[in-house]
Structure formats: structure tokens, C-alpha cells
């Protein structure tokens, strides 16, 4: 089953076209890396999936539910707010800037949404949250505030927080770009582990090594379009497009 089906997505910020008719399908358990220069629209594409941006044209289907359909005028039409929220919290998201809640301890960051949104009982979610913290290696930080954590630790908490909602899909928006180089490893390790558990993942990244090693498919975007996609081997070793080659050279 396809977890994500995008058809002909168009998106403009005022007169600037950032997505020019993107179509993409992601299968269950697939790890897809999206690479490309800044301003290519890769983050915007990710943010359109869970309504952080709204699209102008095209359709979005998450698992077997339509989030956006095409209206009679050809413009995109979103389902009701309530419905859209239910569809979207099947997707967890990890941000470049972590966006942890600074007024809550690590454990409270993780249990807040499951309690508030899903109505899960506190004594049920706390052991689950602790298990997630162990998984990302941060159980001892359970009662710390985010300001006491390093960037890499914050991002691992953010991953645990997203997982606590039991998403079927995880979206990563440049998860290591705000980190010092020596801290990216611990975050990538947590992501690699998720991939091994067959989580469906869409990762916007500048970590070429990670894309090459973990992704099953690599998508190269430029100027709001998918220029080329294929297996990591194909994209990194023998890209068909000159633009892909130029970009990859600039990343070395």
C-alpha cells in the first residue's frame, strides 16, 4: 500500500512558484531521502504533507484517506479541519530547530500530545514514553528541561516525542542541519534504527552519507521540480542529469 500519494502539487508564495507539479508515491516501510540545493522546494514539499503549508493545486492522499482533493475549479480542496487533523497526526515530524516545548520537562514534552489529543491515560503513556527515551538513549534526562540538553539530545527527544503519537510515517526536515558536526551521529543513529524497524520515512537532508546508506530511494529536487530519482547507487554514482551531478559535486 502507498502511504503517501501526491499528484501534481503546485504551490506558490505570492508570485514565486516553489512547487511546480510534483507527483510522488511512497510505499509502506520505504525510506526516501530528498536532496537538493536550498530553495529547491524540498522542505516546502515536506511541510505541505501535514498542512504546515497549504497547496494551491493537486491532491494529497495519506494511506487510504484523501487530505486534499481537486475542487471543481481545479484548485485544491482540503477536507474538514477535524478530519485533516486526524489524518495528519499519523505523520510525525522532526524539525531542524527541534521545537521542543521549553516550559516542559523531557517526559512532559513526550506525553503532552498523546494525553491531550488522543486522550491516553497518564499511567499508560508514561511507561511508553520512558521506553522511547531508553530507545533514543536519554532515559537519564527524563526530568530535565530542554535548555539543559545539547542539540543532539534535543533532537533525539523530538524524535521520541513524535514517536509517542505512534505515527505510521515520519517526516524529517533537515534534522541535523542545526547541529554541530560531532552531534549529528547520535541523531542519525536513532533515525537509522527507525529505518531498520521499517518505519516509512521521508527525510529532507544534506547528509549525503546518510542518504546513500539508509535510503532506498533518493530524490533530487531543484527549482520546485523533481529532477531525478532513483536508488542511492544510481543517483550518487551515475546520475543522468547534469544538474544532479553539479549539485553532488558541490556537496563534496
Amino acid at each position: 500500500m502507498n502511504m503517501i500519494s501526491l499528484k501534481n502539487i503546485h504551490k506558490s508564495f505570492n508570485s514565486l512558484k516553489v512547487l511546480k507539479g510534483i507527483s510522488l508515491e511512497v510505499a509502506q516501510g520505504e525510506v526516501v531521502a530528498i536532496i537538493g540545493p536550498s530553495g529547491s522546494g524540498k522542505s516546502t514539499l515536506l511541510r505541505c504533507l501535514n498542512r504546515l503549508e497549504t497547496i494551491d493545486q493537486g491532491t494529497i492522499k495519506i494511506e487510504d484517506e484523501m487530505l486534499v482533493t481537486e475542487g471543481i475549479d481545479g484548485r485544491s480542496q482540503y477536507v474538514s479541519e477535524q478530519k485533516a487533523r486526524e489524518i495528519c497526526f499519523k505523520m510525525g515530524m522532526v524539525f531542524q530547530q527541534f521545537n521542543l516545548f521549553p516550559h516542559m520537562t523531557v517526559i512532559d514534552n513526550i506525553i503532552e500530545a498523546p494525553i491531550l489529543v488522543k486522550g491516553i491515560k497518564k499511567d499508560v503513556i508514561i511507561p511508553e514514553a520512558e521506553e522511547l527515551l531508553r530507545k533514543v538513549g536519554l532515559f537519564e534526562k527524563r526530568d530535565s528541561y530542554p535548555s539543559r540538553l545539547s542539540g543532539g539530545q534535543k533532537q533525539r527527544v523530538a524524535i521520541a516525542r513524535a514517536l509517542a503519537m505512534k505515527p505510521d510515517i515520519m517526516l524529517f526536515d533537515e534534522p541535523t542541519s542545526a547541529l554541530d558536526p560531532e552531534l549529528t551521529g547520535e541523531v542519525l543513529k536513532a533515525m537509522r534504527q527507525l529505518a531498520q524497524e521499517h518505519m516509512t520515512m521521508l527525510v529532507v537532508t544534506h547528509e549525503m552519507a546518510f542518504a546513500r546508506e539508509v535510503a532506498q530511494r533518493v530524490i533530487f529536487m531543484d527549482y520546485g521540480d523533481i529532477v531525478e530519482e532513483g536508488t542511492p547507487e544510481q543517483i550518487f554514482n551515475s546520475p543522468n542529469q547534469a544538474r544532479t551531478q553539479t549539485f553532488l559535486n558541490s556537496m563534496l
Binding site: 501535514n50 498542512r51 504546515l52 487533523r85 486526524e86 495528519c88 497526526f89 505523520m91 510525525g92 515530524m93 524539525f95 530547530q97 527541534f98 521545537n99 521542543l100 516545548f101 521549553p102 516550559h103 503532552e112 500530545a113 491531550l116 489529543v117 488522543k118 528541561y145 530542554p146 535548555s147 516525542r161 513524535a162 503519537m165
Partner: protein, 217 residues
């Protein structure tokens, strides 16, 4: 000494009026200010424009003029005009005025919260109301404690303006006694009272700041 004791009776009555003005105004204007700040930031333009105008009026004219208006001019407006007793008129004017200042403080606080906080909340499935209540406002409170503390201390002293409605608050009572007895002691008693109240407030707000210092940003 005996003289001071006889003064204390009316002085305490005056202090009671001052305290009532202070507490009722604070309790009503803080929530009203919060509601106004949300309306001011509304995407619905007519509403935000209306509140903007309101805030401009309230901050752009003297509180004393607003007091006089509510007490003397409001009853003259056809159909909707009502004559309020002096205490209610004073409370109304103070609440309307202070809510405008608090609204701007809350707006500043809310707008200082990073966009990422809203995005993280939305991605986790929270509604607007849940996001405001659990994520945004608790952080706003930390940031607005210092400016709110400032306004609150100003309010203690602003209550003395109600003398224009011939209400016997602490300061007017003091002045009456001074003029009758040719003795400056009531002024000193009044000053001590205001200082004591400010001291208590400063202590409370310091405690609040300490409590919020549990986390940094």
C-alpha cells in the same frame, strides 16, 4: 499618639476603598486584556481594527478623562446611557483602561513565541485552543511577568485618581484630614500604606519570576 489613632479609622476606610479598586480592577482587566489581545491579533480584519482603535482611545486619553466620561457623560447618551454609582463607574473606567494596556503586553508576549512552537503543536494534532492553553500561554506568562508587574504597581497609585468622583479613597481621606487638622501625619500614613502595598506586590512578582525561572528558553 491619640490623634493618630482617631485618624486611623477614616484612613483605614480609605485604604479599604483603595484596595477594593485595586483588586477588582486587576481581576477583571487581566482576563479582558488577554481576550482583547487575541482579538487584536485576529485574522478577521474588522475585529482587529476595532480593538486597535479601542486600544488607541484608551491609551491616548488620560485615565482621569475616562473616569469623568463614564461618570458624567455616559448617562447622557440617548438610549444606552446609564447612570452608574460612583464605585461602579470608577471600576468600569479602570477596567477598560487597564485592559487596553494589558492587551498590548499580552500581544507582545504572544508574538514573541517562535513560530516553531505552533508548528510542533499542530503537527502533534493539537487544536488552536489546546495549543494556546498548554503550549503558548504558559510561555507567554513567563515573559509578561515583568511588564505586568510594572502596570500593577502603577495601578496601586492610579487608584488615587478616583478623588475626582469625590470618592473617599486613601489619599482623599488623608487630604481631608490634613486640611481639617493642619497636621501632615495623614500624608505620611498614606505614603507608608502605598509603599507597603508596593512592597508586597514586588515580593509576589519576584516569587512568580523565581517560579518561572525553573526553565530557561
Amino acid at each position: 499618639m491619640e490623634k493618630i489613632i482617631t485618624m486611623m479609622g477614616p484612613m483605614l476606610d480609605g485604604a479599604s476603598i483603595t484596595l477594593q479598586m485595586f483588586f477588582i480592577t486587576l481581576v477583571l482587566s487581566l482576563p479582558l486584556g488577554l481576550i482583547l489581545s487575541l482579538a487584536r491579533m485576529s485574522k478577521y480584519k474588522p475585529l482587529s481594527f476595532l480593538v486597535e482603535t479601542y486600544i488607541w482611545l484608551m491609551r491616548g486619553t488620560p485615565l482621569m478623562l475616562q473616569l469623568l466620561f463614564v461618570y458624567y457623560a455616559l448617562p447622557l447618551i440617548p438610549y444606552i446611557g446609564i447612570k452608574l454609582p460612583d464605585f461602579s463607574a470608577a471600576i468600569l473606567a479602570f477596567v477598560l483602561n487597564y485592559a487596553a494596556y494589558f492587551a498590548e503586553i499580552f500581544r507582545g508576549g504572544i508574538q514573541s513565541i517562535e513560530k516553531g512552537q505552533y508548528e510542533a503543536s499542530k503537527v502533534l494534532g493539537m487544536t488552536y485552543v489546546q495549543t494556546m492553553r498548554r503550549i503558548i500561554l504558559p510561555q507567554v506568562l513567563k515573559r509578561v511577568v515583568p511588564p505586568i508587574s510594572n502596570e500593577t504597581i502603577t495601578l496601586v497609585k492610579d487608584t488615587s485618581l478616583i478623588y475626582v468622583l469625590a470618592m473617599n479613597d486613601l489619599l482623599r481621606t488623608a487630604r481631608t484630614i490634613v486640611q481639617r487638622e493642619f497636621d501632615m501625619t495623614p500624608f505620611i500614613i498614606a505614603a507608608v500604606f502605598y509603599l507597603a502595598m508596593t512592597l508586597v506586590l514586588t515580593w509576589i512578582f519576584n516569587k512568580l519570576e523565581e517560579r518561572y525561572a525553573a526553565y530557561d528558553e
